[in-house]
């Protein structure tokens, strides 16, 4: 359960990225987040996993006020959330396999399970053949799928996907959407940011529409 009350965010340089946003997303829900470039989609997601702070308002995740979490304990929040970053954030000096293991090492998974879970995640996104490649040796869409595998591998409660199919052709994009839906069917809350009208049309989920920092509609 994610509850957002009257959220404001202004970046240095006076960009008003979010203005008076109030929202509620139920546990286990699947929502699309859409809006023009610069509307504030990424900003909203960043605030949810405490990567950006905000100026005014309140956010409760499972009833916990995230502004009140001490910096030393932010990791407890982040462990509940899997993120697909818009710019992937793969480590260029690690292979695909290592990149995905890295996410599990970071949360101190028992090392026996790491190999197994990494392999499973690679199978899901169809990249087992590329496991020893470095990110720069992959096509754009392949990099994106690695980023998705990494977000899924720790079985988070909440998935934040920032434009996870921007570089994928429509067929693979649909495959990926199904991956998120599979996670969702097991109780994971999914927020899926996208520009693609095709995506939005393909499914009948709730669409949260931002425009210049304001909430336009949540259908």
């Amino acid at each position: 359960m994610i509850q957002i009350f009257n959220l404001y965010k202004t970046y240095k340089g006076n960009t008003q990225a979010l203005i008076d946003i109030s929202l509620e997303i139920k546990s286990g829900e699947f929502v699309f987040l859409t809006g023009q470039s610069g509307a504030g989609k990424s900003t909203l997601l960043k605030i949810l996993y405490s990567w950006e702070n905000f100026d005014k308002g309140q956010i409760l995740i499972n009833g916990i006020n995230i502004a009140k979490i001490r910096e030393d304990n932010q990791y407890t929040l982040r462990r509940k959330i899997g993120v697909v970053f818009q710019d992937y954030r793969l480590l260029p000096r690690k292979t695909v396999f290592e990149n995905i293991s890295f996410a599990q090492e970071a949360v101190e998974s028992p090392s026996e399970r790491i190999r197994f879970k990494t392999w499973e995640a690679l199978k899901k996104v169809g990249l087992t053949q590329k496991k020893d490649s470095f990110p720069l040796q992959l096509a754009g869409g392949e990099q994106q799928r690695v980023a998705i595998a990494r977000a899924l591998v720790n079985s988070p409660e909440i998935l934040l996907a920032d434009e996870p199919t921007g570089n994928l052709d429509p067929e693979i994009a649909l495959e990926i959407l199904k991956l998120f839906e599979h996670a969702n069917s097991q109780g994971v809350t999914v927020i899926f940011a996208t520009h693609s009208a095709e995506m939005l049309k393909a499914r009948d989920y709730r669409v949260i529409n931002l425009g210049k920092g304001r909430l336009i509609s949540t259908k």
Binding site: L77, L91, A106
Partner: protein, 300 residues
Amino acid sequence: MKLLTRAFRIAFSNIKSSIDVCAVSVITIMVAFSILELFLLVFANLNSLVETWNKQVQLIVYLDDSVSKKDQSTLENLIANNKNVQATSFVSKGQAWTDFKKTFSDKAAILNSLGFNPLPASLRLQFSYSSDRLKAIQKFAKTLEAQNGVESVEYGKSWILKFETFLAFLRLFLLAVGGLLIVGLILIISNTIKLSIYSRKEEIQLMALLGARPNFIKWPFLMEGMLQALVGALLSLGVIKIVYLYMKVQFQDSMASLFRGIYIQFIPDSFAIYILAGSLFSGWLGSYISINRFLKSELK
């Protein structure tokens, strides 16, 4: 403990994956430590040289030809009780005359024709080193001069003064050089580790984003800093050992004959251990400063 083992493993794989940056750090650290150790080596050897010179600071007590057994033993007791006196040697009247004639061997005939020995017996006292040694010598000289059986005392006041000043200068100079080197060393280490962290910026950020504990993020870097510094220090000890062995083979003999009793020696073992401990500490401190500042500034 598990955290440390893991940190060690990760530090190791980090080093492997950016071996070029690490090599740069290690070489820089090695060079810095080599210089510090070369300096220690010179210092250790200079010290034993100074020890030799030090023996030449002496107070000569010339005895009356007519000194009584009793007076002489009073004198010797007095000297034995003075805690500043390090060593005493007795030069008899005969010995002094023999030495003198040896120096002027060309005039032996003339000197022999004197028919008597004009030189007195003497006691030569060496004083242990302390910053106010000259004062101690002057004071004791006064006391001795007043004793029965003492003809005169001699201690080359101005030479001693000069020597003391020189020693003070030397010590201060070495301290300054050493200080500069150590500050430089810590700077270099902390800087190279800053660069190493800097080159893994995204990785650190990403770890935080993926939900790693702060300590989990820090320890691999602390470990890496310590490993780098330790390896650098070990290599430098190797380098210096080679330099030392070469010098020893080349110069031991001539040095030994020039400064009697001098023996070119390596950095004492205890110092080598201090150096390794110091390298671990500087590695840790350098990483700690850098990673903490980085986490504060980069992670908002």
